[in-house]
């Protein structure tokens, strides 16, 4: 039950955040999608032992979060929920890769730990990229971008309908599960004998609902097309936003800024 409420809350929160009007929100969605793609490619293209070179990429989420007025805590919470899988796979690195790699005067760190930390950092950056995109753009505008990119309308319509009905169906499943839990003895889940009937009933109701949805769409003139309205024009500032970040990502990718700063300070030039 609690995870259902959390899901609905999460979707609604991101929906509401996307409706804000800030500098970032007003950037054309296509440019935001392209910037996010470039950002992701830049992150994952770093080799597996890279750590310091990745750090300047933190500027992107920090600047976007502050400029877009996004709350930090819910986004961090979301990140933590996804982290166990990344940690689960990454934690094997220190076990299998024990060659010392970083030698400081007081400690030696193995390559496995470096690559593990690199995976964690990449995780933070990539997860924040996806969340920031949706929190500043919203599903409808992303669908408009897909339309601009000539993705077939049938897929976009299907995606939007799925998205629209998720909250409705989660609520319905939530009600059913609450009713079930009130009538069962401290069961943690659905007992084996009820697997088919409970889920099956939900499914039958869903199919009937799909029929009603279709009829009401027909009543409102549905002809198989989804009209998202005319898209906004791309302004110069939108293009500059993309080019600016793009150049920064390329610079960070090919030039290790922290290492340069570090060597300037410590004077270690060879």
């Amino acid at each position: 039950m609690s995870n259902m409420m959390a899901s609905i809350y999460n979707i609604r929160m991101l929906d509401e955040l996307a409706e804000k009007s800030t500098v970032i929100h007003n950037i054309h969605p296509l440019m935001k999608v392209l910037t996010t793609c470039l950002y992701l490619v830049a992150i994952v293209s770093f080799n597996k032992y890279e750590l310091s070179g990745l750090l300047p990429l933190l500027f992107y989420p920090i600047i976007v979060i502050t400029l877009a007025d996004l709350p930090l805590v819910p986004l961090l919470k979301r990140m933590l929920i996804v982290f166990p899988f990344i940690i689960g796979i990454g934690l094997f690195n220190p076990l299998f890769d024990r060659i010392p790699m970083v030698v400081l005067p007081w400690i030696q760190i193995s390559g496995g730990w470096i690559s593990f930390l690199s995976i964690l950092l990449k995780g933070v950056l990539t997860i924040s990229a996806a969340l920031l995109l949706i929190a500043t753009t919203g599903m409808t505008r992303i669908a408009a971008v897909l339309d601009m990119l000539k993705i077939p309308k049938i897929f976009i319509l299907q995606l939007l309908l799925t998205y629209r009905y998720i909250t409705v169906l989660i609520e319905e499943v939530g009600h059913t599960l609450r009713a079930y839990s009130l009538r069962s003895r401290r069961e943690r889940g659905i007992s084996f004998s009820d697997w088919g009937s409970l889920t099956g009933h939900l499914l039958v109701r869903t199919l009937d609902r799909a029929q009603r949805v279709y009829h009401s769409m027909c009543c409102r003139g549905f002809t198989g097309e989804y009209n998202a309205g005319s898209g906004t024009r791309i302004r110069t500032v939108d293009i500059l936003y993309f080019i600016g970040w793009g150049l920064y990502f390329i610079l960070v990718r090919y030039f290790n800024i922290p290492a340069t700063i570090g060597s300037l300070i410590t004077g270690v030039v060879r």
Partner: protein, 349 residues
């Protein structure tokens, strides 16, 4: 078994995006040809149903634990393979965007692992063949169980291969397989049992829903040969393009040379190097903080032991110091923007 962006390389992510886009384009074409518009809301609402149904915890008898469904096979069985694949893709897109469950770059991998194997391998080759003689409770059981297990085994195998070829995880192929396949056998059994229970119920309560799909009505029969041929072509093209790209930019796929830092300075032309060195002499507030002698001994020790890559204390320290400085700078930038915005807001009031 959603893959995360942090664990894949751009080459694997890009190639899987291309392959998945190919399968999706083919599915869309088939759906457009065969589907009446009535089915579009059905696909949407069914996608939402599976999304919600994934949150139901099913108590597994005699174990005390619980599991949930993936739903790929259920979608294929109720919508047919093409519409089922597209519905699964929508679910994964929404999960990646709103729940950060599986990254955007790994989306191609995830759609392929969870959608392709169930809808285009397990469903037509196992499920449909078993159901050829007509539906019965026994056949629904055999077909769903086998398809769910094999679909998930193939999906898990694909996760292992994609992770292995990305080269971010140190897990040896064999160990990873030994971890993933048995776990997904158990998950497959649960998935199969839930699918059996649901399809069995629907078969008794509303048989026409299942019969419609069985007749291939409005959804068309699947041509696995066409799919595989198309897939092979896409794989060859993307393989060619990406291997060219990878050889031009070796960082992506290469199993790693360690270069926490210092690489650019070494490769930089003499002019830049000298200017940097000159600036350094003026700026460095820890000028003699070099570990050169120590690093040399370490390097020798490592070479004699056959260890690799090269270890260098100097670059380690400068990387660390530079990293901390960058972090502080990033934090300060955030604080500055926040402060400036707050001030401008206060001014406007």
């Amino acid at each position: 078994m959603h893959m995360a962006d942090a664990l894949i390389s751009p080459v694997v992510g890009g190639a899987m995006w291309a392959v998945t886009a190919g399968v999706a384009a083919y599915s869309i074409k088939k759906v457009q040809n065969d589907l009446d518009e009535q089915k579009i809301p059905l696909m949407g609402v069914m996608g939402a149903f599976v999304f919600a149904a994934q949150m139901i915890n099913f108590t597994i008898p005699a174990t005390g634990s619980s599991g949930h469904i993936g739903g790929g096979l259920l979608l294929a069985a109720l919508l047919g393979p093409y519409a089922g694949f597209l519905a699964m893709a929508s679910i994964l897109v929404i999960q990646a965007l709103f729940f950060a469950d599986g990254g955007l770059l790994a989306l191609g991998c995830n759609i392929f692992n969870l959608g392709f194997f169930t809808c285009f391998i397990a469903y037509p080759l196992i499920y449909q063949r078993i159901m050829r003689k007509g539906y019965s409770t026994g056949r629904i059981f055999a077909g769903s169980m086998l398809s769910a297990i094999i679909g998930l085994q193939l999906g898990a195998f694909s996760v292992v291969l994609e992770t292995f070829f990305s080269g971010k995880s140190e897990l040896p192929l064999g160990t990873f397989l030994m971890l993933m396949q048995p776990i997904h056998l158990a998950i497959g059994v649960v998935e199969g049992l839930v699918t059996v229970a649901v399809l069995g119920f629907i078969w008794q309560a509303r048989p026409e829903i299942i019969e419609k799909v069985a007749l291939g009505e409005a959804l068309g029969r699947i041509s696995i040969k066409k799919i595989l041929a198309g897939l092979a072509i896409v794989a060859m093209i993307t393989g060619g393009i990406f291997s060219w790209f990878a050889s031009a930019n070796p960082d992506g796929l290469e199993w790693s040379m360690f270069n926490t830092s210092g690489k650019e300075e070494l490769e930089a032309p003499a002019g830049i190097h000298q200017t940097l060195a000159a600036i350094q002499e003026k700026v460095a507030f820890l000028p003699d903080y070099s570990f050169k002698s120590q690093s040399e001994t370490n390097t020798i020790v490592n070479e004699t032991q056959g260890n690799w890559p090269v270890v260098d204390a100097g670059t380690s320290v400068s990387g660390l110091v530079g990293g901390v400085m960058t972090l502080m700078l990033a934090g300060m930038t955030g604080c500055c923007i926040y402060w400036l915005k707050k001030r401008s807001k206060a001014d406007s009031i």
